[in-house]
């Protein structure tokens, strides 16, 4: 399946990934800049923050309490913010478009 990451400069990167991975691992495995994922995907660091293209937002898995809690403490989150490690890439998400920040903090 195909995922599109658009970085803060507007540079677009299309990557081919296996269904079943998540948006954090897919980014790290494809050297996508702007995603760190320090905690290893435990929803504990918020350094896999992405902004999801509005068209795709309603189709994503719903947010768990832990993801909500982590997003709540971030100064730069908005209604399109999600944590990449919590987005399991099922085949229906083929074509997903997300925006990555300049860096994580």
């Amino acid at each position: 399946m195909k995922i599109t990451y658009i970085d803060y400069n507007g540079t677009q990167r299309d990557v081919e990934v296996e269904a079943g991975t998540n948006l954090r691992d897919a980014a790290l495995n494809n050297a996508i800049p702007g995603i760190d994922g320090d905690c290893g995907g435990e929803c504990a660091c918020a350094t896999c923050h992405v902004r999801v293209d509005p068209a795709w937002l309603p189709r994503l898995p719903t947010m768990g309490d832990q993801e909500k809690m982590m997003l709540e403490m971030m100064d730069d989150r908005d209604e399109r913010s999600r944590l990449g490690c919590q987005i399991h890439l099922s085949p229906e998400l083929d074509g997903l478009v997300v925006h990555t920040p300049m860096g994580q903090h």
Binding site: D38, C39, E42, A44, M69, M74, G103
Partner: protein, 420 residues
């Protein structure tokens, strides 16, 4: 006794003494760097360990990585609130029990944290990096060559204090006050900085007055991108009571100072202990952009622990914790867990999961300045290698002196010589 003999003796003691007598908070374990075997035994035999009697009263020790993660991710069960005891093992430390955002629970924590976190956002760091590099270069260029000097004041304290003065827009010529107040905040009474809690409070009152003056200047001026101006102008914080302001200032001073400073010293020591890694770094300086810096932070673990207080009776890895009990998460142990980090005592600059170290904490209290800290350490080594590119050119001469402190893991001196 040399360091090796001392460590062997500690291992004998750690494994022969009755389990219930093990007290990981004994500050001499940090001073002598002999804590490792005690934590190893606890991780194996009693990962959630109760110490009935210590300098800091009774407390629970959480020593394994996954259990610490559980505590970090459940702030409603394990509170950081200063009114319950705050974030460090010492209860009586008036400075550490002041209200500050790290020692608050949500929602107030989230609100105040968000006021300061933009200053360390990626865009800001990108702007600051030129200045950091310039200051680092100037500092390194002024170091003596081919003679022994102390790395701690000359480099580590020097650089972190300048950075902190910049973040606060603090009067530059008086910046050594920041280092002093940082030490006053975290020192154990009687270890050279302060004599008593009263002494600590008296010094910190002066700090409070100084920062109140800066606040009053900034609040009446146009908003600027320094931490004090941000606090003084933000709707969320401009009505903070004075002790809360002082608490947050001290948090930012210690957070911006101690940890980075000690990682800077620790990185020099670690590379000298592991000369193959020093060679690896010289051959491949790009490691500084990936895993080398997080590995320095893991290896050093500049804060040995963070503390929480149970808000209700709960269970942790089979042990019953009661409401009100003190729970200490020993990062210095989890960062050395063999199941999590391969050969954890060694420095491995290309360690794949180096970023997973717990030195910055996880969950909602994760260190807000972590990327600034990493940036400073990265630039330091980039500039060192430009000037002294050969392995071992920064040579440690003799033993470092470590702090006698169960919270801050750091160095009061590290004799080195630059061979050039």
């Amino acid at each position: 006794m040399d360091a090796q003999t001392q460590l062997r003796a500690a291992a004998d003691r750690a494994y022969s003494m009755p389990l219930e007598q093990i007290d990981p908070s004994d500050p001499t374990l940090q001073q002598d760097d002999t804590h490792a075997p005690y934590f190893a035994r606890l991780r194996e035999e009693d990962p959630i360990h109760h110490t009935a009697d210590s300098l800091f009263g009774p407390f629970w020790s959480v020593t394994r990585y996954d259990d610490i993660m559980h505590v970090e991710m459940n702030p409603q069960l394990f509170s950081s609130d200063s009114r319950r005891g705050g974030i460090a093992i010492m209860d009586g430390n008036a400075a550490v029990s002041l209200p500050m955002f790290i020692a608050m629970d949500p929602p107030k924590h989230d609100v105040q944290r968000k006021v300061v976190s933009p200053i360390v956002a990626p865009e800001n760091l990108a702007r600051m990096s030129g200045l950091i590099r310039q200051r680092t270069a100037d500092t390194l260029d002024s170091l003596p060559i081919n003679q022994t000097f102390d790395w701690v004041p000359s480099v580590s304290i020097n650089l972190t204090t300048k950075m902190l003065a910049t973040l606060f827009d603090f009067p530059f010529e008086e910046r050594q006050l920041l280092t002093y107040w940082s030490d006053v905040t975290t020192a154990l009474p009687g270890t050279g900085v302060i004599d008593s809690e009263e002494h600590r409070m008296a010094e910190l009152r002066k700090c409070g007055e100084y920062f109140l003056r800066l606040w009053n200047e900034r609040v009446n001026a146009e908003p600027k991108p320094d931490l004090i101006s941000m606090l003084a102008h933000s709707e969320k914080t401009r009505n903070m009571p004075p002790d809360e302001y002082l608490g947050n200032v001290l948090l930012l001073i210690v957070g911006g100072n101690d940890t980075t400073r000690n990682t800077m010293s620790g990185s020099v020591l670690a590379l000298n202990r592991f000369p193959d890694e020093y060679r690896k770094l010289c051959a491949n300086p790009q490691l500084l952009e990936s895993t080398a810096v997080p590995e320095f932070v893991r290896w050093q673990t500049p804060l040995a622990h963070m503390r929480r207080t149970a808000t209700q009776d709960t269970e942790l890895h089979g042990k019953r914790i009661r409401a009100g009990e003190k729970v200490v998460m020993w990062y210095v142990s989890s960062n050395r867990e063999p199941g999590k980090f391969n050969d954890p005592g060694s420095l491995q600059l290309d360690r794949e999961n180096a970023r997973q170290h717990q030195s910055f904490g996880f969950g909602i209290h994760r260190c807000v300045g972590n990327r600034l800290a990493e940036l400073q350490v990265r630039i330091l080594w980039e500039e060192i290698l430009k000037r002294w590119p050969e392995p071992g050119q920064i040579e440690v001469i003799g033993e470092p002196q470590r702090l006698c402190n169960p919270f801050v893991r750091g160095y009061s001196s590290l004799p080195v010589r630059i061979n050039a």
